[in-house]
Subunit: 363 residues, 2 copies
Amino acid sequence: VPNSAGIHDVARAAGVSASTVSNVLNGRDHRMRSDTKRRVLAAIEELGYMPNASARQLKTGQNKTIGLIVPSVANPFWGLLAHEVERAAMGFGYKVLFCNAERDAEAERLYAEMLWSSGVRGVILSSSPLSFEHLGGLARRGMVVAGFDQQTGGPGEVLACSVSVDNVVGGRAAIGHLIELGHRRIGIVSGAIRTRSRVGRLAGYHAALDRAGIARDPALVWEGPSVSGFGDTEGAQLGRAGARHLLGLPDPPTAIFGINDMYALGAYAGVRDLGLSVPEDVSVVGFDDISLAEMVQPTLTSVRQPLGAMARSAVAALIARLQGEAVEEPAHVTVVPQLVVRASTAPPRRTDGRPHGLKETAR
Amino acid sequence: VPNSAGIHDVARAAGVSASTVSNVLNGRDHRMRSDTKRRVLAAIEELGYMPNASARQLKTGQNKTIGLIVPSVANPFWGLLAHEVERAAMGFGYKVLFCNAERDAEAERLYAEMLWSSGVRGVILSSSPLSFEHLGGLARRGMVVAGFDQQTGGPGEVLACSVSVDNVVGGRAAIGHLIELGHRRIGIVSGAIRTRSRVGRLAGYHAALDRAGIARDPALVWEGPSVSGFGDTEGAQLGRAGARHLLGLPDPPTAIFGINDMYALGAYAGVRDLGLSVPEDVSVVGFDDISLAEMVQPTLTSVRQPLGAMARSAVAALIARLQGEAVEEPAHVTVVPQLVVRASTAPPRRTDGRPHGLKETAR
DNA sequence: GTGAAAGCGCTAACAT
DNA sequence: ATGTTAGCGCTTTCAC
């Protein structure tokens, strides 16, 4: 295996010293004889020289790389986030290391340590398990952690900054919409509710019910198999199972809220499995508004996250901190999500079985 | 920013030398006094020491990392591939650097160089533009390139090994199935057909038509906007547009083949946009068999790729070569895909407008 | 069993 | 305007 040329090989080929080559490499060629520069460039080209990033980083301590930790790459939403983050980072001359933690705190910690070991000093964390304790040590050491879709907690906060959609508002909007349509029994399908975003969405669900004076019913909150460390590579599968479970209840819901669009799409399948249809028999709402939402039949009502803007904002905030720009307080941006009403929601066919004296709401 | 402790700090804290710490770190503790080891471990723990990967790599030249270059993270298929590759690599003690090249040869080259610079010497390349020329230089330098879903070319091959589904067979199976159902005008929706996998699928499409004695009609091959460098972050959008275009033709197809499932799902939407339905008016077949395929309504007939097995095979082959195990010939594994027939395909409602004298195939 | 010393490929302060 | 030099944090002979 012919190994790569080093900076000294280039220097020799160009008849200069290594420092000169280094200077060319790093744009310190202000007062350099253009002939020298030309020879160096030619030598680099000819030898196909590529600097050794490890050596450079060992020396400078800088590596212009940020980490991105996401849950579940099976949901296109996270893929798109990765894309947007990558584009934004590239604009600052940064690279992105993509890590898929599968909603596992331990995996997340491992990744974060790997990143730290690799010299990465800034990471965007999207949808971490509830507590950040597992990252506290790193943060104290100097890792800058930006939260994506993670409302910030109290003091001793690990997150240096964050950008998040207001999940409570989003959840409330989704459920409020269903209530306005006349639904009184509204189910929610989700994987384990152990991330801030999910807790927020659930809180929004409860808030909307409370405001409308509808009693909470824990039986309507389906959290999926409670296997520890169980990810959701297959949110759609879980959504399907959850919908079937909820609709098999003695007093089934007339509407289902998917914790994200993949769950909602799975719920479509679950509804159909039982010979029912969306939205005639069961309304379905999702969260994220991935592009599939307007592809499926019926098109999915969903809570939109302005993904691109959020990604750019998170990257900018993170890099500002990394570059030591004096930033006063931790900046926690919360953007307001927007409910996009499509065809998957409609008034309930009939009221639920309860003797509440609700008037019949015809379809 | 409190900087991390180094190996010397640990050595001092444990009252030993740096070499001893290094030995503990690297499992060379065969004949070490267990007390010494214990003290070292305690010091590591207490200081929260983490080795500096750059320094280690600079010294050893090894970094136990492979790269994975995929197109389009918006398609869950690639997300799942990333997941499987990660799992397989972890089994060998390797990490994975995930790169999203958006089907752009230049981006691919940039990523590959970045990987090389970072000390990565093995990369899995999935769905590259047709030619590998842009990577030839790196391969000659010693980068081991494993192809995923890339049939190998001729001599001077860049790929050290590859694992691929037989795209020709898969395409032929999909189209053959449609032909058996009685379809004679079959369209195909795709982004630019500039990757080996897509060329293969198109070849399968043509082979099936030829075998059945159906004349090829270039008008039925929709390749999407021919914008250069245009990725397909939104295969579904393209599938939708393509389906609408094809169905608007004077002599429209009765069936549509999506170059992958996202295109096929988009085609569903396109069909519905025109007030038609799947499969009554138009049959649709996809490729990949992502989990969404059995979620949507109607469930999607698709050509299944055994993703997990392929990923494991590619990782194993790549790492074997990286570790210099004497491997004779380049190993190019081709697996046979399987057509999964679901509800999106049915006999055509009526024959196409041509005076071919085909008998009416009632639904 | 453990420590001392050299050096991986690069950068940056300093010397020329 | 270019070259010399001294490490960055770790691993790894080789001595003790």
